[in-house]
């Protein structure tokens, strides 16, 4: 069934990687199955829930709606890539912990990546902007309020540190 393959190379969480992929292979399957990245969470398979959100050249995208071949030559950041090399958590991750902004945690990696991309682009977002960004993923446990608090907290901490 693998009719055609293509060789692709991209930056994955700060490291150059290469893979031979079927042209119909989804990015989510490549990242979860070949690279073992559990932090790319599988959810609705339709670009709605946002659990599989990754950053492509810093811009959030749902990996379930992308073909693996589309990321050739690009820079992919998953939740793993947000941590410092020494294992220190990103301020957004710390804020999610401090606000306990998760229950089951299925949406957490995607939410954290969304927030980090927002704060990289806009260090002091207003409430409307935060809500608009964070609506790109769904928390079925109903933790949206805590997620918003975590994003506000991370924004304040990161502004302080600048």
């Amino acid at each position: 069934m693998i009719d055609q393959t293509e060789r692709i190379a991209f930056d994955l969480d700060g490291r150059p990687v290469a893979a031979t992929v079927a042209t119909n292979r989804l990015l989510i399957d490549l990242l979860r199955e070949e690279f073992g990245l559990l932090g790319v969470r599988a959810g609705c398979d339709g670009g709605v829930c946002g659990a599989c959100t990754v950053l492509i050249d810093g811009v959030p995208a749902t990996a379930c709606l992308m073909l693996a071949v589309e990321v050739d030559g690009r820079r992919i950041t998953t939740i793993r890539g947000l941590e410092c090399a020494d294992g220190h958590l990103h301020p957004v991750q710390r804020a999610f912990l401090e606000e306990r902004a998760f229950q089951c945690g299925s949406c957490t990696p995607g939410m954290v990546l969304l927030a980090s991309a927002l704060l990289a682009e806009n260090p002091d977002p207003d409430e409307e902007t935060i809500r608009a960004w964070m609506s790109a993923a769904l928390c079925r446990c109903g933790g949206g309020g805590a997620i918003l608090r975590a994003v506000r907290r991370a924004a304040a901490v990161m502004r302080e540190a600048r």
Binding site: M1, L37, L38, G39, V40, R41, A42, G43, C44, D45, G46, G47, V48, C49, A51, T78, I79, R80, E83, L89, Q93, F96, L97, R100, F102, Q103, C104, G105, S106, C107, T108, P109, V112, I130, R131, A132, M134, S135, A137, L138, R140, C141, G142, G143, G144, G145, A146, I147, L148
Partner: protein, 755 residues
């Protein structure tokens, strides 16, 4: 306290059931019926079988020799359709292949010949005199119940179950009451859609079976698998892996037995993971029609309530029988003092998606109707809705009726808390309205037994073994708090072991908000047993004539000698180390006199107050502020209580204004994809959501703890609907309340909701 699992969750390294794989594992895809009701004339799988990647195809023929029926109380759902299908989306065949894509492709080549039968899409269609029968039902069968209660299986065509409870003399009270009100409410069904769908990996090894799954009932599943496959329970091993939420979708056996059958056929481990689209076809909340007749005295005292909770059970029983009984018996009367109650619950079979466990378990349907009617009555009698409720709420220690668990929360305090916070008495701006509601449900399950084991290692760290499933509600945290308190150790040194039915002590399942109260009590007793062993060991090892053994700050002292746990272990057991093990048990015993076979474990009230704004032109409703309170009894994990309350409130808000499964005229799901089925995002959150965790201290758990995992969904929808009624002067009897409904009724004081 930051649990290790939390750090893994924010790092994206936490592994859920959906991440589990075995070497050589094959993948299954189901073939589903396009028809709501049809006879299966033939299944031709030849075109699927010739695919070199396909290993096995299963149909009803492969169920021979099994006891293939699943369901709670009534087992009427086959692992694969036998002879006919009763809802669109019902699995009729399964294809096992080396890759998921190959299985999906081959599944598309399975050809089924059908004889289409007339659909039974709604409760009304099912109860019509000429309705087609979905099952060849036997004669009505009466089931014994406790005092004042009766139940019948299949009392009428397409009626799966009828339950009735009666206390007092309703006829006399209705005859002499100053006011009697009858109202009917309609409740749609939501889909659970936890982010992680149902997923199972099964391995048949000839002698027994091993299953890895995200089912929250590993022991019930073990029992069911033993029955279905005629195996000893001891030869079946179930691993309940951490689940990416559930809300009821993962309770009671689901497709795990089918996955095991496929493994037996394919002679390899098989994985069957459903998609979101399939989750929407597998189980839903119950749609309901609720009719309440309520008698009120001239001075505004509630006298008697007669209620009918009619649930759309869909095609198969699943957990409908117990949802119906609990909803009718424990939630329909609500939190009030009655002189008489007559509650009837009925499950109607329709050719739609089976309905089953959903957070609240019959409570949301009953509470929406009950609290809407209480508000409507207050308005009709020109009484303040808060004062009217306060006058009639059960007081702490008061039995709702003779023989039932006395009220173990201060309901007036809860109502006052949310009403005060929303500013109930303050003036309302134009277009704004406020509403309150008090929901009621039991917690702790039917009669119940939970077991727990705590193992203390030489280094003073502790492992807890308990059957409480991790669905994200934070059981590891509750376990750590309980153990650390008794042993005086750092909660970070306590871990809740993964569930493995070979090793974990039995538990009747993660249901009915039992975690903190019942399982917590079992854990508490287990760790107290460990502590007793430690003290006995110290008495044996510390050769000090005088003084009792004292346990303080992680040290064991007798007289002048003080030892750490490692030092004590070394003296007692030598350099090889050992463990101290304690067992604990918590029970809610059978009680033949109790209507449902056991008194309620604890009451789980829910208090909500909402302020909404209504756009009179467009009918758009925005929830501006929401205040929700629940009674934790004693909050073992205050942040966890907050999260449960906030989460349930969002589900309640979605129920009120956003979410509903929509069916076409034949009962096929019309919005059965994640894109078409609207779910709330942060854009739907009110500007202000306040949660209050009450600690009335009257629960059965450690320090009076109770569960509150299900409370918030009970009251929020009614509070929002009551606020919309307050803003518009119209009564709303159907959820979700849409802009069309509001625009049609807005401004007419006597307005009746369209449709």
């Amino acid at each position: 306290m930051t649990a290790a699992n939390d750090i893994a969750r924010v790092r994206g390294s936490f592994a859920y059931a959906i991440d589990f794989a075995l070497p050589g594992m094959l993948h299954a895809v189901l073939v589903r019926s396009p028809h709501p009701h049809a006879e299966i004339l033939a299944i031709d799988a030849a075109a699927a079988r010739v695919d070199p990647d396909v290993v096995a195809v299963a149909t009803a023929d492969d169920l021979a020799g099994l006891d293939p029926w699943q369901g709670v109380v009534v087992r009427d759902q086959p692992l694969l359709a036998i002879g006919k299908v009763r809802h669109a989306g019902e699995p009729v065949a399964a294809v096992v292949a080396r890759h998921p894509a190959a299985a999906a492709r081959a599944a598309g080549r399975v050809v089924v010949r059908w004889r289409v039968l007339p659909p039974v899409p709604t409760i009304a269609a099912a109860l019509a005199p000429d309705a087609p029968a979905l099952f060849d039902q036997g004669p009505p069968q009466r089931f014994p119940k406790g005092s004042g209660a009766e139940a019948w299986r299949e009392p009428a065509r397409n009626v799966l179950w009828r339950f009735r409870f009666r206390t007092g003399d309703p006829e006399a009270l209705f005859g002499r009451a100053a006011h009697v009100f009858t109202d009917t409410y309609r409740f749609p069904r939501m889909s659970h859609l936890p982010i992680e769908p149902l997923c199972a990996v099964a391995r048949w090894d000839g002698m027994g079976a091993e299953v890895w799954c995200n089912n929250q009932d590993p022991f019930l599943l073990r029992t069911d698998l033993a029955r279905i496959f005629s195996l000893p329970e001891a030869s079946i091993r179930v691993h309940a892996l951490p689940a990416g939420a559930g809300f009821g979708a993962k309770s009671y056996p689901k497709h795990e037995a089918l996955t095991l059958l496929l493994s037996r056929l394919a002679r390899s481990p098989v994985r069957l993971a459903l998609t979101w689209d399939e989750m929407m076809l597998t189980l839903s909340q119950h749609a309901a029609e609720v009719t309440l007749t309520t008698a009120v005295s001239a001075d505004g005292t509630l006298l008697a309530r007669r209620g009918l909770l009619r649930l759309d059970g869909g095609a198969y029983a699943d957990a409908s029988v117990i949802v119906c009984e609990k909803g009718a018996y424990r939630s329909l009367p609500g939190p009030y003092r009655w002189q008489a109650v007559e509650s009837v619950g009925e499950v109607v079979r329709t050719s739609t998606i089976p309905a089953g466990s959903f957070r609240g378990f019959g409570g949301p349907q009953a509470c929406f109707a009950g609290e809407r009617q209480i508000d409507a009555i207050a308005r009709r009698l020109r009484l303040d809705p808060v004062e009217f409720r306060k006058r009639n709420l059960l007081r702490p220690g008061e039995e709702p009726w003779p023989g039932e668990t006395p009220m173990d929360s201060d309901l007036e305090d809860g109502l006052a808390a949310v009403a005060g916070r929303i500013g109930w008495r303050g003036s309302r701006a134009p277009g704004r309205g406020r509403g309150v509601a008090v929901g009621m449900k039991d917690g702790g399950g039917f009669s119940r037994r939970s077991l727990a084991v705590v193992k203390l290692a030489r280094d003073g760290s502790a492992l807890v073994l308990s059957g409480i499933a991790d669905l994200g509600q934070g059981p590891e945290r509750v376990a750590a708090v309980i153990v650390s308190e008794v042993l005086g150790i750092d909660p970070a040194r306590v871990r809740l072991a993964p569930i493995d039915t070979d090793r974990t002590p039995h538990d009747q399942g993660t249901h009915a908000s039992v975690g903190a109260a019942m399982v917590g009590l079992a854990i508490r007793r287990a760790v107290e047993a460990v502590r007793a062993r430690l003290i006995a060991l110290a008495a044996e090892v510390i050769d000090e004539a005088s003084g009792d053994v004292v346990f303080e700050a992680g040290m064991i002292r007798r007289g002048n000698v003080s030892l750490s746990v490692p030092a004590l272990f070394d003296r007692a057991f030598g350099a090889q180390g050992s463990e101290l093990i304690g067992e604990g048990e918590a029970r809610n015993p059978f009680d033949a006199e109790a209507p449902l076979g056991a008194r309620c474990g604890f009451w789980m009230p829910s208090f909500a107050a909402a302020e909404v704004s209504v756009d009179a032109d467009t009918g758009r409703v925005a929830v501006e502020r929401l205040v929700v309170a629940g009674d934790a009894g004693h909050a073992l994990d205050p942040e966890g209580c907050r999260a449960q309350t906030e989460g349930g409130a969002v589900q309640g808000l979605a129920q009120a204004l956003i979410e509903a499964l929509v069916f076409d005229d034949e009962g096929r799901l019309a919005n059965g994809t994640p894109l078409a089925y609207r779910m709330p995002s942060v854009l739907d959150l009110p500007r202000e959501v306040a949660t209050i965790t009450l600690e009335h201290g009257l629960g059965p758990g450690p320090h009076g703890a109770k569960g509150l995992g299900e409370h918030a969904i009970l009251a929020v929808a009614a509070a929002i609907a009551n606020a919309v009624a307050d803003a518009t002067g119209a009564e709303y009897s159907t959820l979700p309340i849409t802009p069309e409904d509001v625009a049609a009724t807005s401004g007419s004081a006597d307005g009746v909701q369209a449709g």
